[in-house]
Symmetry: C2
Subunit: 423 residues, 2 copies
């Protein structure tokens, strides 16, 4: 994999140019793309031309690093199909805000990464680089796979249920879902306006933190100091029995590794309101999707994949009253979460039920992610652990809203502890 | 003006058809549009064709009523230029969610109403129907003017500072800015994602309530029962000296009229945090606009009007730290607002500094509106009062977040009290 921070250090030392990095990506894409299918659209020549302005680019935070953009964000320079046949060949007139922010920060957009249809659950063409017989997860399938395959150092995704954390976990890369609203969703195809959150993929936790710092101009870089030992709350709530045995062991291993390097680990008991909030997630998501995708549903229903069409069919029957009640439940959940942060700096849970499912009938389940999307809290997938088949088992770290830096530091602490444990 | 509720009653009684209402609008447009310029795009023939499905339409909440859509919302059937030369001839591939919701509710989109450029402050072509030598206000200029000129019974707008309440006040119509997020902004050109709020225009308060109820499927109709007498908090904070003498008298008149019909009127003292929050508004708005309009600024800066270009030039220097501090101030303001609602059901303030300014150099100031946009609270412009020149003086009613129905009832109470006072 290409560590963004490693590349930046080599650029800063004069040992590497943006053009040389494009070449590295191009070589990885050349070698793997026909099997992996991480990209919806790709323009390596345009990237090479952009990389010629090396002096201007390397003075900017992203130093001319290539960035992949999930094909759910509008781009004026690339087609934008949102993974949907309805939008075949669609070319937006403007870049999404996040894309413009990447460019302003000195990133070069190398291509659009594959999104599942309308960022929902219908599997797309992408394969998992760790084992191409397995799903990469979704909906940010191409972004996670491109990082895992060393085709890109940074990629943008979005999460409404588990679309950043899950594919990051399945592909064994770092995924970061910042606090709700930190990176604007303006110009990204909406599924649910209260849930859609822009996230990032990179090789390691310090890399996603670097990329987010560069794009948002926030003090999020965590690569210069050793992260302090966090107070970790282990969440084994109503979903715990749904985690695979391998995943349950991975969480225990991660917790032990963290404890051994100084973290305080304790059980975090989630009060019942969180199960209610977890159940409220699909109500809110689906009610809003029925409106966010109203034009597509009303005019092109037959061109929407069955899994998404059926969601929308069902969503048509959700009343405003039910939706409003779900929103009240969420507010109560957010208040209750405030109490948990008095005892724990972060919460630790599986990033997914287990490793990436074999085959391509599903992109996996967002069950372990959707509560935290709903809470708007920052979350990361910490890579490093694998199952007996060598498939990644991701650990999810969650922190308080707006405390993205502290959450990332704790995730880095865990990532280092796991690496130390494995060495 | 065309009262939506009056039209609905006549449709329900079989005395009027959707096609006949289109004819009424067409006649008013024919008579006034060349002088008023309320529309960016208009398709009366398409509306007539749509109105032929009378039986299907009249079974739906909006009964086939014609609706005007501010040209800041994407529409597949009309060009969508966001008031900007950058988007000349732009034709979106899909309808904005709010537009799709209007259609689902049985509304017929008659045309796109004039928006100022990118929904900011640069005056557009629209004139004030009350006196065409005066501005109609902005940025929802065409929506307010079309209602005032009897060209439409319902129009959609958006407010980021005061873009619904101010033009409603200047044109003497009812304006309703619902609680933040009640109507999705998906597919509306973004200026500030934390502030942009979809609102409605109609002849009277009960009419905007009816339209919002129909579009959102919420229990917001208030035309069947007499509204209860509210506890009114009169806000005369740091902005009060900026209100014209005529406006100060109008607020006093409105308060007296309400008191005479049973309302309890008391002074509402806003703690200092609200002045800080008021000052935080432009920080949040401008910081976000610099990112929401990043593509336009980075690629078409010279095609943006000076007033907006200068805002964006200045916004480029706002740091993330300043923006985050402003967001914290807003959170404190929202908490402090909770205390005020223990003593008052609604707050009463001017909708604008005074009547619509003469001439077209400005669309007026959003000073009296922006705090309430920032708070996300429902607000309405109550029409009825005029100055000595016959120009409307709007009264702004504000209620607690999520209590849109109660706020509308109080606004209706005030509207009736004013009408009674004048009769």
């Amino acid at each position: 994999m290409l560590s963004a921070l490693d590349l930046v250090r080599r650029i800063d030392a004069g040992a590497l140019t943006p053009a040389a990095i494009i070449d590295m990506c191009a070589a990885a894409i050349d070698a793997g793309e026909s099997e992996i299918g991480a990209f919806a659209f790709l323009d390596i020549e345009a990237a090479r031309r952009a990389a010629q302005s090396a002096a201007a680019l390397t003075a900017l935070p992203l130093r001319g690093l290539p960035v992949g953009i999930k094909d759910i964000f509008d781009t004026a320079a690339f087609p934008t199909e949102y993974g949907s046949p309805i939008y075949r060949g669609h070319r937006p007139v403007a870049d999404a805000s996040a894309v413009a922010m990447v460019r302003r920060a000195g990133g070069i957009v190398l291509g659009k990464t594959v999104a599942t249809e309308l960022a929902h659950m219908n599997p797309a063409k992408t394969r998992n680089p760790v084992n191409p017989a397995h799903t990469p997860g979704g909906s940010s399938s191409g972004s996670a796979a491109a990082i895992a395959a060393g085709m890109l150092p940074i990629a943008l995704g979005t999460q409404t249920g588990g679309s950043v954390i899950r594919p990051a976990a399945f592909c064994g890369v770092a995924g970061f879902k910042p606090s709700y609203g930190l990176i604007p969703t303006v110009g990204a195809k909406c599924f649910s306006w209260q849930l859609d959150t822009v996230g990032l993929f990179a090789a390691g936790i310090a890399d996603v933190a670097f990329a987010c710092a560069a794009i948002t101009d926030r003090d999020l870089r965590i690569d210069n100091v050793a992260p302090p030992a966090p107070r970790i709350g282990l969440v084994r709530g109503h979903l715990w029995p749904e985690a695979s045995e391998a995943m349950q062991r991975a969480v225990a291993t991660a917790a032990e590794a963290a404890a051994r390097t100084g973290a305080r680990v304790a059980d975090a008991d989630l009060p019942p309101i969180f199960e209610a909030a977890w159940q409220a997630h699909p109500t809110i998501q689906d009610y809003e999707a029925f409106r966010a995708l109203a034009f597509e549903y009303d005019h092109h229903r037959e061109r929407i994949a069955p899994i998404t069409r059926e969601l929308l069919d069902g969503a048509a029957t959700i009343t405003a009253e039910t939706y409003d009640a779900a929103r009240r439940t969420v507010r109560q959940g957010r208040q209750a979460l405030g109490d948990l942060w008095r005892e724990h700096d972060i919460l630790l849970t599986p990033s997914a039920q287990g490793a990436a499912p074999r085959g391509f009938g599903t992109t996996g389940s967002a069950a372990f992610n959707r509560l935290w999307t709903l809470m708007g809290t920052p979350a990361a997938n910490v890579p490093g652990l694998v199952d007996s088949d060598g498939l990644p088992l991701g650990i999810q770290v969650i922190g308080p809203f707006g405390r993205d830096r502290a959450m990332l530091q704790a995730a880095l602490f865990l990532e280092k502890a796991i690496a130390q444990h494995l060495s």
